[in-house]
Symmetry: C2
């Protein structure tokens, strides 16, 4: 996929000379990139380079950049209007199986992440309509829903809500209180919110625009609760007035995403026809019998939720794009802003020349690349799972764990990075017209929506433990635990593909006589693996003991493991991301680009080892002198990468036209 520009492809007129190292990219927006920047971008975009380049070129700043000074009402109106415009142009609603086309999962993901290059309210508004509302109908509905309803959703003729969260139950979806009861006599479903805590809240599109909602509730048929199901419920009439029995509220002003009209919904015995239940995994027959191909309520619940995994993949990715945008702004500013006198110069020292500044920006840039390669893998996993002829439970579970892991790391990284970039631009970073404060406000909620990060981390670890419990049987046999731990976190796909490269590198590092160089890639992979295995093995042993307790004691015993569980998720995620980066570097064929990616991968691996060196020292995986060398090497890598800072930013793929930063336009 490596793109090398020939003179023939240049956009320059005959006789014109491009500045050294700068070639015109063959994108429709004529973006000028350095050769290295263009090549890095192609490598990072990976299998989706073409679609991403096209998507970026299609975005017009005036359509996707919002003025942060807008009031909430203005922001909401702007957001809906722009979503309609982008929908009409086909930029927001890609990939749906309508008009005889098959579903195109990758196209849907790429469309969503491309929108994240612009305003995040617009992105999330699109996500509510097409990802959540449209996604629920697409993934949980059957032919009737896809034919009758999906086209209106895809055209935005029918704006809708994804009504899952309730006042009393945020993370605990299984215990939602809304009821969906089958009325045998009228052959209808009755939707009801029995208590105030059953009120749906923080629901996008609920306060103003939503005409219908995919409502999550307990399905009760003839007195039997079959667990959580999803039903389409009309909310407002054609004049946007609430329908009888539907109570709608407004969550009002928020910390960010002002363009999203989050609101509350509660139901007072609202009736809908039998067909409105999204019944792919469970429904009620015409003669009033509950029917499902999945016998266990629990299995059905997780299967249904699992089909909605795309939202989590998309949310993580768009947080990642936001971090890239902040890094692009802060790095470009650091390349123009000077402060304090420079030796032998009147101009002062560029911020980017200060080690402390390099230490802030460059490891974050390296992590951005790492997460980008890992996200590409997720999209490939998602496509394989969602476009498979037959559902593969194991691969689905792997995908869900991966999506949760990356959503956590992406959103944590984005929050920290945008804040760091804001500060790295000093007072200018705090002025809205310079583009960072809106990113900061909008990306904040990514840490808790689409799954609270702390809850998701425990989900990731449970998936790890569950997997090898199923693979290796009884956890109580210590030998098995140890053996199992060596396989932990290896998904089916990993075992079959990229693992070969990594195992070769690790084996080579282990075989070396004498000390392994601190930049040896195999050593990095080895250390990340060792840590994960040890942490999960230790956790499994502690779990074994906790399983013998009951009642409050059991709660206390598991509760005492919570920080261990969260840590296990983190080290697992860092390992998965490193592996993806390694495979990404290895598949880059251009020599110069490969060398830079290699250095970036070193910086990702070593800055993570540095941050957690306490663990490696405690567990005798690093000596004190080696640990100090890791710290020094991070500094050295910063110096080595510094001359390429701008190219690295170009590689992250945010077009300059979308940076929306006044301070970069004035020098």
């Amino acid at each position: 996929m490596t793109r090398t520009m020939t003179e023939h492809e240049s956009e320059l007129a005959p006789g014109e000379q491009a500045p050294a190292g700068v070639v015109a990219m063959a994108t429709t927006d004529q973006e000028q990139l350095s050769e290295l920047g263009a090549s890095l971008r192609t490598a990072l975009d990976g299998p989706y380079a073409e679609g991403r380049a096209a998507g970026r070129a299609e975005l017009n700043p005036e359509d996707v950049l919002r003025d942060d000074g807008q009031s909430m009402a203005e922001a909401r109106a702007w957001t809906f209007a722009k979503l309609q415009l982008l929908t009409d142009r086909g930029l927001a609603n890609a990939g749906f199986p309508i008009d005889g086309k098959p579903a195109d999962t990758a196209a849907a993901v790429i469309a969503f992440e491309t929108l994240a290059h612009g305003d995040l309210s617009l992105t999330i508004k699109s996500g509510v309509q097409f990802g959540l509302w449209g996604g629920a109908v697409q993934n949980l509905g059957t032919a009737y829903h896809l034919t009758e309803w999906l086209p209106k959703i895809v055209s935005l003729e029918l704006p809708g809500c994804f009504a899952m969260t309730e006042v009393g139950h945020g993370s605990d979806v299984q215990n939602l209180e809304t009821t969906v009861s089958w009325d045998r006599s009228s052959k209808e479903f009755v939707i009801d919110s029995p208590r105030p805590t059953a009120t749906k809240t923080y629901i996008g599109n609920a306060a103003v625009d939503g005409r219908m909602a995919a409502v999550f509730g307990q399905l009760v048929v003839s007195g039997t609760n079959h667990g959580i199901h999803v039903v389409m419920v009309p909310l407002r009439d054609a004049d946007n007035n609430p329908l009888p029995g539907v109570n709608l509220g407004d969550n009002g002003h928020k910390g960010g995403l002002l363009g999203i009209d989050n609101g509350t919904i509660s139901f007072d015995q609202v009736r809908v026809p039998r067909e409105y239940l999204l019944n792919r995994y469970g429904g009620v027959s015409e003669d009033g019998e509950y029917v499902s191909a999945i016998a266990s309520d629990n299995a059905r619940f997780f299967t249904m939720l699992g089909t909605l995994v795309r939202g989590r993949v998309c949310v993580g990715a768009s947080a990642g794009i936001t971090a890239r945008k902040a890094l692009s702004i802060a790095t470009r500013y650091a390349e123009q802003r000077r402060q304090f006198p420079a030796p032998g110069s009147e101009k002062g020292v560029l911020l980017m020349d200060y080690l402390s500044h390099q230490r802030k920006l460059l490891p974050a840039i390296a992590t951005s690349y790492a997460l980008g390669f890992a996200h590409n893998e997720s999209v490939e996993m998602l496509v394989r799972v969602q476009e498979a002829e037959v559902r593969d439970d194991l691969r689905s579970r792997e995908l869900e764990a991966r999506a949760a892991a990356l959503k956590v790391m992406h959103s944590r990284f984005a929050n920290d990075t945008v804040q760091m970039c804001r500060e790295a631009c000093g007072g200018a970073g705090f002025i809205s017209e310079n583009g960072l404060t809106t990113l900061r406000r909008d990306v904040d909620v990514f840490a808790t929506f689409e799954g609270d990060n702390t809850v998701l981390e425990q989900l990731v670890t449970k998936a790890q433990l569950l997997e090898y419990r199923q693979m290796w049987g009884d956890l109580d046999m210590l030998g098995t635990v140890q053996q199992a731990a060596s396989m932990v976190g290896r998904t089916v796909m990993e075992r079959s593909t990229g693992r070969v490269v990594i195992e070769r590198l690790v084996s080579a590092a282990k075989r070396r006589t004498g000390e392994v160089p601190v930049r040896d890639r195999g050593w990095h992979a080895w250390m990340f693996e060792e840590r994960e295995q040890h942490v999960v093995e230790g956790l499994a042993n502690r779990m074994r003991a906790a399983r013998k307790t009951r009642g409050q004691d059991a709660f206390d015993a598991y509760n005492a493991l919570q920080d261990h569980m969260v840590y296990a998720a983190r080290v697992h995620t860092e390992r998965v991301v490193l592996d993806a980066f390694i495979v990404g570097v290895e598949s880059c064929e251009d020599e110069a680009t490969h060398a830079v990616l290699n250095r970036l991968c070193d910086l990702y691996a070593l800055s993570r080892l540095e941050a957690d060196r306490g663990w490696f020292l405690e567990h005798n995986r690093m000596s004190a002198s080696r640990s100090k060398r890791v710290v020094r090497t991070v500094n050295e890598l910063c110096s080595k990468l510094r001359p390429d800072a701008l190219a690295l930013i170009e590689g992250l793929g945010i077009p300059e036209k979308l940076l929306d930063s006044q301070m970069l336009r004035t020098d």
Copy 2:
């Protein structure tokens, strides 16, 4: 100072019974606190308990809490109106030497921190008017300025600006470009902005309200530049129109502090009378001669800037108050919010009962206490320095370093903590009416205003190095360096007061045979000292080598030390804060309160040791097993402190009436 309530003091009517452990506080707002909470609050308020309690009682929520949904124009108007109201009540403008009263430094600081319990725009607007503008006139002016101008500033009749920062020079104050030139013929000063980069920017009160400004510029007399001086320059006439030669701009929408009208100012040959120069440290005589008691331009510059240190003390403290407010909201929410089923209960598990939640909130609460005690020390240092008959250069420098160190730690802590609290409240935390998002937006800029944190950290370390270079002479003698390092960071005041307690504890820990318990206070103090000494000694040695280089090599050599310098500042600050906490615990006489403070101090010390255990392992200050025990002990301390969570929050001193969080009012 320990307050123990007697039944006699209770506000309850005879026959009424207070709930167990709850007594009515004798504050004017009748706040109901638990006995432990009241006692903790008194201990933490320390020498300023009375003034702080009175200040909190005086604040009315309707005067100091702002609606986050306000537009920028509304926010600015609200802020000015409320500042006038508080000024009229004497709540914002305390401590000035007018009407025959002497300056009361502590009163000024307490007034400022008390305002931070409310809206931060209002707090900073007060800071701009009274701390910066009034402070410049008070501290840099002479009798004429104090008599003629200060009363109008203190009444808010004359709103003004502190015009230091320029477009081209944020942190680099010494190289500002604005000129203040003496015109020998007219006997006036001419203020000029020679280039666009000389434009003053981010200046509070400049966009709308400022009528006059304290302008920082290079004072040029008869062709000689005497360095930075400050001159009062009228900006607007009585109808608020800009005066001739004064160009005013608006920085517009910002990431937070929307109530502050930050703007730009540039001057085109604006003339002011000779008396307008704030000439305490340097001025021009009637016959046009430059006069100063301080011969060196450099020494004069640092002396003048040093007198403005109160602003930095106040900014740090108000960031600390903001963190306390966020912790109060998040902890109270965690005590009412339940999620996921609890064993043997229908109600679900309280968030506060989860270890992961305790791990988020309790170490932050402990750090809040630590910083509170450290801030009390700073105020005492400030009072001693600023109210001394004769200026004491050494103590002034110590105070400046301390103020910089605490401002950095306070503002970093506040940013991280408010964000953590927002996330700990899930979706509810993101809804503005719940009170966290406005704190998040407003406290953001504290990391870069009143000194960029990264620049300040280097200032702290330079002060440390300078101090012992002056005390011990030539840095090039290694023996001296090592000896000096053992004294590093000990200020005059430290050496004379609280050090006795700490040295006794450290000596006892060192004398112990066998392993020192992990909760031994002397061991904590010892470890923090060891780390600081080692880091500064290492830095001094590297500095010695760097001093032999010149030009670009010198820049490169010092630049390579930047992360070491920043780290030295951090470990110094953590040590200073621990010392203050230890002294605070020791001076608490109430047994039960002492026990809780002691535990909190353990948690502060051990959570910091945990976070930086890589260093202690690398440098053989902790064994691997001890390091693991530190981690376990942090968990144990969280469990032990968990039952006191609400009392700990009460101790932080934010009255419930000011929490402004809708979710706490509904259960």
